[in-house]
């Protein structure tokens, strides 16, 4: 583990920990996040983790670039991965159904599996949250079973329902709010992914783990899900 430090902007440095996306990265990323937050204290403006990197945005009136580099080196000196289970674990109920997950059949055809087997493979893995981005609370999770890996739609949809669960290549995610998007939709979760009233705002944080749990329509509605089909949402 020899992190590289790169210049990004007047008040931002990139800490590059890895060169490839892997689930094993996350215990290291969590450890580095904790150390950097402690090391920078009030001089830290934002810390943006993403797959292999941590962007450190610091207060440029408090630290010079040289001092910021030194703080990073100090913080990461002798870094050890966090023990397993350091992030939070979540179980997201998902109603896998063609009416809200129109690409279920596409994935089945591509993989040669039955729809039931596609659902089973998507829901049996415990995913890592690699990064949040695109929209508040949108968590990029992986890695999806290689057999299910599917490229994004050629033409993104203009509107995707809140809670929609999708797959893009070997990643999976759920849309926190109605938004445009090009992921292959396979179901919908009733979980509220971003809530300004919640402590920490976002249900999922980088470094958390997530498992999807298939629920039937009645249970989905019971949990507060909205089953309005996509086409009815203009």
């Amino acid at each position: 583990m020899k992190p590289r430090i790169e210049v990004v902007a007047i008040d931002c440095l990139m800490v590059r920990l890895f060169d490839v996306i892997a689930e094993d990265n996350m215990p290291w990323m969590l450890a580095a996040t904790r150390r950097l937050r402690e090391g920078f204290g009030a001089a830290l403006v934002d810390l943006v983790p993403s797959y292999t990197t941590l962007m450190v945005h610091y207060d440029l009136l408090a630290l010079s670039p040289a001092l910021a580099r030194e703080l990073i080196s100090l913080a990461l000196n002798g870094l050890q991965p966090e023990p397993k289970g350091s992030g939070q674990s979540h179980v997201l109920p998902v109603w896998y159904d063609l009416s809200v997950g129109p690409e279920l059949t596409v994935l089945a055809q591509r993989s040669g599996l039955s729809v039931e087997e596609v659902i089973r493979r998507h829901s049996q893995h415990e995913y890592q949250v690699f990064a949040l981005g695109f929209a508040p609370g949108f968590a990029f999770m992986g890695l999806v079973d290689e057999v299910l890996a599917t490229p994004r739609l050629n033409t993104p949809r203009k509107r995707i329902a809140a809670g929609s669960v999708g797959i893009a290549e070997r990643q999976t995610a759920a849309y926190p709010v109605v938004s445009p998007g090009g992921w292959n939709l396979i179901g919908r979760t009733p979980a509220k992914l971003f809530d300004r009233a919640r402590d920490g705002y976002s249900l999922m944080q980088p470094g958390d783990t997530v498992r999807f749990e298939p629920v039937d329509h009645a249970e989905f509605i019971n949990l507060g899900g909205d089953d309005t089909p996509l086409e009815a949402q203009a």
């Binding site: 902007a9 007047i10 508040p136 705002y201």
Partner: protein
């Protein structure tokens, strides 16, 4: 409490402050005034905290009427502002008597004007800031990120403020043709030699495809020759180069991570100048090292004290 009725507005008239911080890891954008220098001066004119909530008026089309005596300050672009029939230039505090109107007509110099009130305009802080981001439904008067709308009221609670005027020396030069300083980033060496020459020796035209997320620069396409990248955090002012070779300057409402190669990032002072440029204007880029840019920045912000 003092109140102003918004009689005319556009989707480009927004309540802003310095932006939202400490939440980028949750996918929440930064937001905030695009020209932070003019926002700071508008607040300075009243003796406010430099990041107190202000109105960002882009291009014009904004009118308010005072419901009672109001003390206000104006900085940034000259958008043909009038107090009733009297023209008012940016860079001063001024009084709006009960019933008087402040109107922004059209851009004469620059693109964005900043209107400040004693102690800042009242607005709920959402995730620590009132910066309006429509896409994320955060900030603004209603907390849901909407633009300022006709019929709504701007309020401020502070009883009084300073009455200051910016000296000629303090007024930012919005006509400056000085090149925009760019701190070169880690991927700079992976652009072709010709592209590196073009980046810093040719003119770039500001595309009309511009919003608070980013501004596209039109010119000779730049060629990136490195490997494809894994998405990573992207900074304010970052200049990313998508496969079509036309650079995009990332602004306050940008997404939090992205996977396009970057030339580097504009300095905050360069960004403030860029925020006052209109589509069709031409700009140049000049490389600067991080340490030098940092020193210049620290030097500049001393003016506010």
């Amino acid at each position: 409490m003092s109140r102003l009725l918004i009689e005319a507005s556009t989707p480009l008239c927004l309540l802003q402050d310095a932006g939202r911080f400490g939440v980028r890891h949750l996918g929440v954008t930064q937001g905030g005034a695009l020209d932070w220098v003019s926002m700071s001066w508008a607040n300075w004119l009243l003796g406010n905290a430099l990041d107190a909530p202000v109105v960002e008026v882009t291009l014009g089309g904004f009118t308010v009427q005072a419901e009672e005596y109001c003390l206000l300050a104006l900085a940034g672009a000259d958008l043909g502002a009038y107090v009733d029939e009297r023209a008012i230039s940016p860079g001063r505090s001024f009084i709006l008597q009960k019933g008087q109107r402040l109107r922004f007509t059209q851009p004469f110099s620059g693109a964005r004007a900043y209107l400040a009130a004693p102690g800042g305009f009242d607005a709920p802080k959402v995730l620590g800031s009132c910066a309006s981001v429509g896409r994320e439904e955060l900030g603004g008067l209603d907390g849901l990120g909407r633009a300022l709308a006709e019929g709504a009221y701007l309020r401020y609670s502070s009883a009084g403020g300073d009455m200051r005027v910016l000296s000629a020396e303090q007024l930012p030069n919005l006509q400056s043709k000085a090149p925009l300083e760019l701190i070169v980033g880690a991927q700079i060496g992976q652009f072709s030699g010709q592209s590196l020459f073009d980046a810093f020796n040719t003119e770039w035209t500001l595309d009309s495809r511009a919003d608070r997320m980013g501004m596209r620069l039109l010119g000779t396409p730049l060629q990136y020759q490195g490997p494809s990248l894994i998405s990573e955090g992207i900074p304010l002012g970052g200049i990313q180069v998508p496969p079509d070779g036309q650079p995009i300057v990332l602004l306050n409402d940008r997404q939090t991570i992205g996977g396009y190669p970057r030339l580097g990032a504009l300095t905050p002072l360069a960004l403030a100048r860029l925020a006052q440029c209109l589509p069709g204007e031409k700009v140049r880029l000049v490389p600067v090292v991080q340490e030098t840019a940092h020193q210049q920045h620290v030097e500049y912000v001393r003016r506010f004290h």
